[in-house]
């Protein structure tokens, strides 16, 4: 579902990411581990197409769903509109029925008309996951989804990402420095500082 070859990215004269080869097949679950500054976010941004690497080739199946670290829901729009926005901006047909389906999948069927400020952090995170899977992605990436979560919420969040990725048949890539996630992923990529 994606393939990175001889990828190197420099920022301000410093190499922040260097990867000889990183490939994943459809439906695989990958954990990208590493401390802060190891290039995890840079890798996710390159995979997501938000960043062009300084060198190397990147091949990724689209569409791509992204769960950013800070969630970044649009505060002036309702939950439903935030989800439809993902389809609208991707140039896809807007499907209100898909909103109902996806919200039910993340356990927030009743919160479609809520504004982001009316949600708890856990609910907002589930909405961010729902937004990422609205376009039935081939690749689902999540940046530090478990930071600041207790064990129970950490497990629930990773479970949600896995189930949603599985439902779409998407490859899942989770970047974290949280060692608690290690056991759930058979495929791991460890980046150094």
């Amino acid at each position: 579902m994606f393939s990175l070859k001889d990828v190197r990215h420099r920022y301000g004269g410093r190499t922040v990411l260097q990867l000889e080869r990183f490939e994943a097949a459809q439906g695989e679950k990958w954990l990208v581990l590493g401390p802060s500054g190891s290039g995890k976010s840079t890798l996710l941004h390159i995979l997501s197409g938000l960043l062009k690497p300084s060198e190397g080739t990147v091949s990724v199946a689209r569409p791509i769903g992204i769960v950013p670290q800070k969630l970044h829901l649009i505060a002036s729009l309702s939950v439903e509109e935030n989800l439809l926005l993902a389809q609208y901006l991707a140039g896809a047909r807007q499907e209100p029925a898909r909103v109902v389906q996806v919200l039910a999948g993340v356990g927030l069927a009743e919160r479609a008309q809520a504004r982001p400020h009316q949600l708890s952090h856990g609910q907002a995170q589930r909405v961010a996951v729902a937004r990422a899977v609205m376009n039935r992605p081939q690749l689902l990436v999540a940046d530090e989804p478990t930071s600041n979560l207790d064990d129970a919420h950490c497990a629930a969040t990773l479970g949600l990402l896995e189930s949603q990725a599985a439902e779409c048949g998407a490859t899942l890539v989770v970047a974290t420095h949280d060692a608690r996630a290690k056991e759930r992923f058979t495929h791991r990529l460890e980046l150094g500082a």
């Binding site: 938000l50 509109e81 439809l84 926005l85 901006l89 807007q94 909103v99």
Partner: protein
């Protein structure tokens, strides 16, 4: 109920999320547009109306004094007369070879603030007025009402009324002589609509007791139409130099009046423009400020697939929506204020002005408002569309 998302919907959600800033921008723009609208509507209507009222009157001859006052009183019935002139002098002038037509006007009394104009049937013909009911006067103390005068007073053919001293409301009624309405004119859209017409003899009869025994008859003014264009060069000078009369040109005096008023109108128009530009600046500041607040939103939208052009359109739509809203509110407010101004002028028997009209310049005003909004949004929109995504998302 499900709703679909669009750039307009997103822009609206942002405007709604900042009600104070949105309201301030709308208010600023609306006030500027309203100011210019009122000036545009009022000056256009007053100019048109005064043009219609003075059409065909080349010269006004009356008592010495202010020429503008003479024109305002004798043609537009807006000011007090400069005095009266001997009938003999007026008759002599009327017979001048350069005078095609001379219509006498005798003023002095009013009814409920409406002027009673002593004249002859030429006055009715001059304004192209037709009778809606009844007939024109044939005897002294018979009166014909202009359409507006009839509507305001409620008088009908056969009604009687007594004139009051003076030209404003509140004068003492003439105890002895009463008028009888014999006709009502159809509306013409000219000054004749808001006066009460009678014969010059009626005015003399009402004021008979005030005239010295055997004293000369007087009228207030003569409305003169030239027999040839040559008269414009010679007749006013001849009248002013050789008789006790004063000659004033309605066209010249109207133009002079508008020149004098024009300074104030231009100042107000400039004030309106300053408000519109201030509104543009305010929209610019609001959108620039919004860029900082929305840098994450814009980054997320790019992350979700929005093109730079789409982000630019989003911010442009916001500026245009503000300016369109401000323009619409300003035009509505301007028309409402003009109607209020018109009501006040109508109450004082002044030149009628209404807000229920549209002048072509208002389209340009709307274009100006939209242009200012688009211009104010252009730079923030461009900056917003160029923002990098990855560094903003990486900031967290």
């Amino acid at each position: 109920m499900s709703r679909h998302v669009s750039l307009a919907r997103i822009s609206y959600s942002y405007l709604r999320a900042q009600p104070l800033s949105t309201a301030l921008n709308l208010l600023l723009l609306a006030l500027g547009i309203a100011t210019i609208t009122v000036l545009m509507l009022a000056t256009r209507q007053i100019e048109e109306r005064m043009g219609r009222d003075a059409r065909g009157v080349d010269l006004v001859a009356g008592a010495k004094g202010s020429p503008m006052q003479l024109v305002l009183s004798a043609v537009f019935h807006l000011d007090a007369p400069t005095g009266n002139i001997p009938l003999e002098d007026a008759a002599q002038l009327a017979r001048h070879r350069l005078v095609k037509r001379a219509i006498p006007v005798a003023l002095g009394d009013s009814y409920r603030g409406l002027r009673i104009v002593g004249t002859n049937h030429d006055y009715v013909a001059h304004y192209g007025a037709r009778l809606a009911e009844g007939a024109l006067w044939t005897k002294p103390m018979e009166a014909v009402l202009g359409a507006e005068a009839a509507r305001r007073t409620g008088l009908r053919v056969g009604s009687g009324f007594k004139g009051a001293h003076g030209l404003g409301e509140g004068g003492d009624e003439h105890a002895e002589e009463g008028y009888r309405v014999v006709g009502v004119l159809a509306p013409t859209g000219t000054v004749i609509d808001r006066v009460v017409l009678t014969s010059v003899e009626s005015v003399w009869q009402v004021h008979e007791h005030g005239r010295a025994e055997g004293g000369p008859r007087e009228i207030t003014a003569l409305l003169i139409q030239y027999a040839s264009p040559l008269a414009a060069a010679t007749l006013p000078r001849a009248v002013n130099a050789s008789t006790s009369l004063q000659a004033a040109s309605p066209a010249y005096e109207s133009a002079r009046l508008f020149r004098m008023l024009g300074v104030g109108v231009e100042v107000l128009r400039a004030f309106g423009l300053v408000l519109v530009l201030a509104a543009g600046l305010s929209v610019f500041i609001a959108l620039t400020h919004a860029l900082d607040e929305r840098r994450y939103d814009l980054a997320v939208m790019r992350m979700l697939g929005a093109s730079r052009a789409r982000l630019m359109a989003l911010l442009l739509i916001e500026g245009l929506a503000l300016s369109a809203g401000g323009a619409l509110a300003g035009l509505l407010l301007g028309h409402a204020l003009t109607e209020l101004l018109g009501a006040a002028l109508r109450a004082q028997q002044q030149v009628p002005v209404t807000g229920w009209t549209w002048v072509a310049g208002e389209w340009w005003l709307a274009v100006l408002a939209l242009g200012v909004g688009a211009l104010a949004a252009l730079l923030p929109a461009w900056r917003g569309s160029r923002a990098e995504v990855a560094p903003v998302l990486a900031e967290g």
